[in-house]
């Protein structure tokens, strides 16, 4: 419990740091903060307006207040879900991000689940019998997959889709029933890439465990190797594996942004890319905040799972090791 409370405090602090960075991003950049809020073209058009109008806009964004007051307002608004207004989209940032985040998570969550299961199981099997046939086939295969950048893998799959008529070439469907079909390729890239990484981690974790004394004891008791692997070894290899899975969530989030670009998937990747190109600062900072919060949340979740799997963590006493 003590450990959980400490971890929770750390995550809250991390979230506050993200909020502060987000605030500084706009307010500490050189020049008028209004340029970063309205975008250069919007700002340029605004400068043609009478000074009273510009002053009104400044008041709307509370730019005449002290920096501390602005920061506190920023935090209070962010906590209420108000991430500002995108002049490029003519809508509230949260309303733009909300559906896009949904599409990214639709790709990401199944990818995390499938790749964790596949990487975990295959890695455990390969690690359970080092230099066995599974290790000899899967390790070079996953090394190859992992060494290919995500976007390249995406392009290979696009070519595959060109030749296989059943697969759509990117984009998203109008009819929701077709969603699975459209998800197949971008998700395929994410799953393959992530499985390769998790396979390596699990394999190495299992190899380390397999030489422990308790494994020999289990063998001497007459247990089958597979039973030892899945009932004893994997259980002990899981906590570091889960930590890596959680840490990797952030990388997958970044990777999914590139994959979305390749497949024209209308998630956060294409949204952030457009926001950067058009200098839509409220949208950039809003996306930055949501993505950071998601990664922090994923890590917090991993901590909870870690605690459930490892009683030593739950009790906050690791010295029992």
């Amino acid at each position: 419990m003590k450990h959980m409370t400490a971890a929770f405090c750390q995550y809250v602090l991390a979230l506050l740091a993200v909020l502060a960075l987000n605030f500084l991003l706009i307010h500490m950049m050189p020049g008028d903060p209004l340029v970063h809020i309205l975008g250069e073209e919007g700002y340029y058009q605004m400068t043609r307006q009478p000074p009273a109008y510009i002053e009104k806009i400044r008041e709307t964004y509370q730019l005449n207040d002290s920096l501390l007051k602005q920061f506190l307002t920023h935090i209070s608004r962010a906590l209420q879900g108000d991430l500002g207004w995108s002049h490029h989209h003519g809508r509230a940032v949260i309303k733009i991000i909300y559906p896009r985040m949904g599409w990214t998570l639709l790709l990401l969550i199944p990818s995390v689940i499938i790749s964790t299961m596949a990487g975990g199981i295959l890695g455990a099997l390969a690690g359970g019998s080092p230099r066995g046939w599974m290790d000899r086939i899967l390790t070079p295969f996953f090394l190859l997959i992992y060494s290919i950048p995500g976007y390249c893998l995406g392009l290979f799959l696009l070519i595959l889709a060109f030749h296989v008529d059943a697969l759509p070439m990117g984009g998203m469907p109008s009819v929701k029933t077709d969603m699975a079909l459209y998800m197949m390729m971008p998700m395929g890239v994410l799953v393959l890439h992530s499985t390769a990484y998790k396979y390596m981690i699990m394999k190495n974790a299992v190899i380390q465990e397999i030489h422990e004394a308790y494994v020999m004891t289990a063998r001497s008791k007459g247990l089958y190797d597979r039973d030892i692997l899945f009932t004893h070894v994997v259980k002990n290899a899981l906590p570091p594996f889960i930590t890596v899975v959680a840490m990797h969530f952030g990388f997958m989030m970044g990777g999914s942004l590139v994959v979305e670009m390749v497949f024209s998937w209308q998630g956060m990747g294409t949204l952030i890319y457009d926001a950067v190109i058009s200098r839509d600062y409220p949208l950039i900072s809003g996306s930055f905040m949501i993505i950071c919060a998601s990664v922090i949340l994923a890590n917090a979740l991993a901590d909870v799972i870690h605690g459930v799997l490892d009683p030593r963590i739950r009790s906050g006493n690791r010295s029992n090791e």
Binding site: G90, R91, W103, D165, M169, G170, G171, M172, S264, D274
Partner: protein, 550 residues
Amino acid sequence: MANIFFKKVREIILCFMAAGLLMAGCSEPSARQIKGPGQTLRVGTPMKLKQLNPLADYTYNILAMLLTHDTLIRLDENLRPIPQLARSWSANKDATVWTFDLVPNALWHDGKKVTSKDVKFTFDYLGKHDPAHAWIPSLIKEIKATPGRVIFTLNHPYSRFLINAGFIVRILPQHIWGHIMTPRAGETKEMTVGCGPYLFAQYDRTAGRMTFQRNPAYHGGAMGVETIEFYLNRNLDIITLSLKKGTIDLYYKYASGFPFPYLRGLTGAKNLQFITAPSMGISAVLGFNMAKKNMSDIKFRRALSLAINYRGINESLFMGKGTLPGSGFVPGTFPQQSKQPFLKQDTVRCRKILDDMNITDKNGDGIREDVDGRPLNLMLLARCDLEGHDVVTRRLVNDFKSVGIGITLKTADLSTWIAIVRKKEADLILFRTTPWGMMMGAGHGSGYFDSRREGGGVIANVRDTTFHHLCDEILSTTNPDTLKDLYGKMSDYYARTLPAIALGWHPVIYPCQNSYPVPPVNQIEGGILNRASLKKWGDAAIFQAGASVK
């Protein structure tokens, strides 16, 4: 226990594989599906749509011009004005009073009648509420709307009113926009209501798919193609493969043909035809900041123009399909210009000019020093978001270096590029001109150079009163003979003073499924997708219907 677990996993994997095989075997290839008698035109585009607001969103503004909103007049593929919402028009001799007679049967998409009051309202409203139309109150003194007729009285002569106002301003319904006080803030579906030949039907934001339906009550007669589907925000790899596979009919991006580097990917596609036209825009232009030292001297600019390997740029940027550019800047597609010699690389002459200007390599480090003894190092500003400009900058850097001119390269996205140009920091500015951009201001590209103009992509580098006077003269006459003479003088001016040089003249190439008859190319409307082709392709639909029945 572990064995049971393994069996389960194996079963699941086998199920997935079987399902995949079934899907691959049973699905009909979408390219081969007969979608009916060709009623739906499928257009793939990398353009992105952020809001359904023709005033606030660039992409929707283009689609409104193309499909949903009428303007007073239209320009045909040869840049001749043709009737649209105005059936006829006239101007007085000095181009200060313009009269438009409107078609009597135009209706808004919601069924209300289009009146001259709507036209007056549009200009008044945009001038008052939209900063992008700040030119309206400074140009137009008075607008009189009488039944079926609108009369514009201008503050000063303006011969290009037909183009820069008659064509550019999409007429808006007063009964809708009259209630919207901040036209750029947000979107509503009623903002899509126009009086054009297509009705906005649906926008699926998730799928990035936008649909327009033919307007049967269009005053100019219903269009041929019944439905147009835009597949927005598609990357070029997907568009290329989709064209080849036949899942989209054509590519559209305003002011651009199909990018040359991707054309290779379409080579050998038997289902495609390639429609080619000489471009009205220029994909790579090198502008000179004449406020800078050395740059203000025409001899120096001439020397720079002689250092460039135009053939190499043509090979790299246009796959060798372009031609040498003329020193008169404006491509041959524009009428009324005088012929000027082509620009060619001549490094011997270039070196001699620089030597004669006492710009020589005094310390032997390979870079020339100017008359004050400072190394000649020029800042070249380029955009990182333009196709092929990275290759052009590399070539320019090498070409200039070979004659002893050092280059500091600065690449930026559009907004940073604009900011740097406005600060007049760069010596050399690499940019592109669009077909519409070439029509801006007094036309023939003058809008890019006239220092009295402001705008996003202009370099406003010519402060010369001779040039300003020439632009003003063009704007103050409607006499075709006088205009021809003045545009000839403008080409002479460009060739004589070199405010900027085209790095190549080139064709624009539009791939399109070959089941469609060859369409007319209207670059001002964006290429092969234009109102004339939409009419023509209707007949193709009938043809396809016959073919599919067979």
